[in-house]
């Protein structure tokens, strides 16, 4: 079975609120698959359904060969889960945390010892095995949490915003570990709203208001709008943003440092029209150049095109 996860028309209602709305996708074995979206987009609800914690209202999902509607427990033995809160015990040592989680996953004796050594090695924590977990820097705790979540060799690993607040070197080490797991066949599903994490995924599912609004490789998504971003330098940039908001031909306009980023429907036409538009608003255009859209630019443009994020 090449597909590790298949979701078909997955839907979840809470009362009349549609948290997840007819979401379909499949994730092949060994892929790093990201869910990207604002708060309330349905990322967590989707993951909770895939992990068997929450039954779908309609639609279905097959995770590691098990239908989540009828075999929630079988699914849970095959998955690992790590949230941004890590759920480690601060007053236990590194090794004691590993032993505790190993025990919870049903590992005993020689098998537990073997997996403990593997986790210490993978997380580069061999020298710190007797250190109290609360005394570890955040990046080290995060590697320990990943080690604990993968002790039982899950076929599918779920990560919820795993590297927020971590320094860049730790983040890169962490994603090296994730990639190592994926290389050996573990399928990884990550939910995040940080572009910095999204960049590490093989494919990204963009979610908004419970719906899947785009699904592709990051490089393909970055070019999916078919237009570059116009970066302009002007006097009083916030005033320029106000002047360009809601203007015909502008998908999205935002501030970026002292510059203004305009995402146009047609870059050539917009580049020609901008000096006049700004002059009409009493602003002066000092420089204009085209730049490649970032994932965030694309994400914001797609969400706006869909009618904005959930308010409230």
């Amino acid at each position: 079975m090449p597909e590790a996860v298949v979701a078909r028309d997955l839907t979840r209602l809470f009362g009349h609120f549609v948290a997840v709305d007819g979401v379909s996708f499949s994730v092949p074995r060994g892929e790093i698959f990201g869910f990207l979206g604002p708060n309330g987009a349905g990322k967590t609800t989707t993951i909770r359904m895939l992990t068997g914690l929450l039954p779908p209202t309609s639609g279905d999902a097959v995770v590691a060969g098990h239908d989540v509607r009828i075999a929630a427990h079988a699914v849970s033995n095959e998955i690992g889960y790590m949230s941004q809160l890590f759920s480690l015990y601060g007053d236990l040592t590194v090794e004691e945390n590993i032993r505790l989680f190993g025990g919870l996953y049903g590992l005993r004796g020689a098998r537990l010892a073997e997996r403990r050594d593997w986790a210490l090695e993978m997380a580069n924590l061999v020298d710190r095995r007797r250190v109290l977990t609360r005394d570890l820097p955040l990046g080290w705790k995060q590697r320990l949490a990943l080690g604990c979540a993968t002790l039982h060799e899950p076929r599918i690993l779920f990560l919820d915003e795993p590297t927020s607040g971590v320094d860049p070197a730790s983040r890169r080490r962490f994603w090296d570990m994730i990639d190592g797991l994926a290389e050996r066949g573990t399928t990884v599903l990550v939910s995040t709203h940080y572009m910095e994490e999204a960049e590490y995924c093989h494919r990204l599912a963009l979610m908004n208001r419970g719906r899947l609004i785009a699904l592709d490789r990051p490089a393909t998504l970055r070019h999916s709008l078919g237009q570059p971003v116009l970066e302009l330098l002007t006097d009083a940039p916030p005033r320029a943003v106000e002047a360009l908001q809601g203007v015909e031909g502008v998908i999205e306009v935002g501030l970026f440092g002292r510059t203004v980023h305009v995402m146009p429907h047609d870059a050539t036409a917009m580049a020609a029209a901008l000096p006049g538009m700004l002059a009409a608003a009493g602003r002066r255009l000092e420089r204009l150049r085209t730049i490649e859209p970032s994932l965030e630019d694309v994400f914001v443009a797609l969400v706006k095109r869909e009618g904005g994020a959930v308010l409230g």
Partner: protein
């Protein structure tokens, strides 16, 4: 009123543990200044000292000429400080929270209607003025916190990770509010752990383990890595990474999904030789291009052992 912020050898120890060591920088009136670094780098400790709520163990800082070490109460009058856990009253409505902070700061009642109108226009919270603060989304709560901090129109605004946990769309709204204040001459110091976000600041100080490792504009920091970064695509990215990491002419190789980012030790490094090594190892390169450094690349290069070439002169 606009004010300058001067930081002069600012330090704070907790017992023997240095949290912030010998920070020196000056922020011009109307500047948007970023205090940037990972968790534990000293961002919050720095902002708390500038806000006059934590005493420095050495050094000093002056806000509009007033010393935070000697006269913290007077410093507090000139500034607003929005901490990570800003004190919103969740059982009061949006409007009641604004009223509460206006009372606290003694904003005259004649000035309030105009202030509120502007803050609502900025924040988009107008339609929610009668909603309990506890019932707002995370992004809206942050916007309300910022509005409360701005209600007395401070000359200096200190923001501690205002966008932590906030989604990209609300993040853009928050930055628009901040830029609006800067455009009116407010001096803003903002901390963030997101390096992509730091690019929005006029100048930034990069903190690492309590020390400043760089102080410059984002563009000039990124220029320090000019000509040293390549992005390449191959059908065997993991094999390529292995070859690159073993290669003496490669400083770093990082896999982002299917793309590899390669950092070279100098702009003059013989990239052709590296490509030849890849070909010899049987790795076909489909796409190879120079890329601009991100601030994350710069931070990595500054904090990696043995890469002193990037440090401040």
């Amino acid at each position: 009123m606009t004010l300058r912020v001067e930081v002069d050898g600012l330090s704070r120890r907790y017992g023997a543990l240095p949290a912030v060591e010998d920070l020196r920088f000056a922020v011009a009136p109307g500047e948007l200044f970023g205090i940037v670094g990972p968790d534990g780098a000293g961002k919050t400790t720095t902002l708390r000292m500038l806000a006059g709520v934590l005493r420095p163990t050495a050094g000093d800082a002056r806000v509009g000429g007033v010393s935070v070490a000697r006269d913290p109460e007077r410093v507090k009058l000139a500034l607003a400080y929005m901490s990570q856990r800003f004190g919103l009253y969740t059982d009061l409505t949006v409007q009641e929270n604004l009223d509460f902070y206006a009372d606290l700061y003694g904003v005259p009642s004649t000035e309030r209607p105009a202030r509120y109108d502007r803050l609502y226009a900025f924040s988009g919270l107008g339609p929610f003025r009668d909603r309990l603060a506890g019932a707002l989304s995370g992004g809206m709560k942050q916007k309300l916190g910022l509005s409360c901090a701005l209600v007395h129109h401070p000359a200096v605004l200190l923001l501690d990770e205002p966008t932590f946990g906030v989604d990209p769309i609300s993040r853009r709204d928050l930055w628009l509010i901040v830029h609006g204040m800067v455009a009116e001459g407010m001096t803003v110091l903002v901390s963030t752990a997101y390096l992509d976000e730091a690019e929005r600041c006029d100048r930034i100080v990069l903190l690492h383990e309590g020390r400043a490792v760089a102080l410059d504009t984002p563009a000039r920091l990124q220029a320090r890595l000019a000509g040293r970064l390549r992005s390449l695509r191959t059908d065997a990215p993991r094999r390529a990474r292995e070859v690159l990491r073993a290669h003496p002419l490669v400083a770093q190789a990082t896999l982002f999904g299917e793309a590899l980012h390669v950092q070279l030790p100098t702009p003059a490094t013989d990239w052709g030789a590296v490509l030849t090594a890849l070909r010899t190892a049987g790795v076909a390169v489909n796409d190879d291009r120079p890329i601009e450094a991100s601030l994350e690349d710069v931070f990595m290069a500054l904090t990696a052992p043995g890469t002193g070439s990037l440090a401040d002169a």
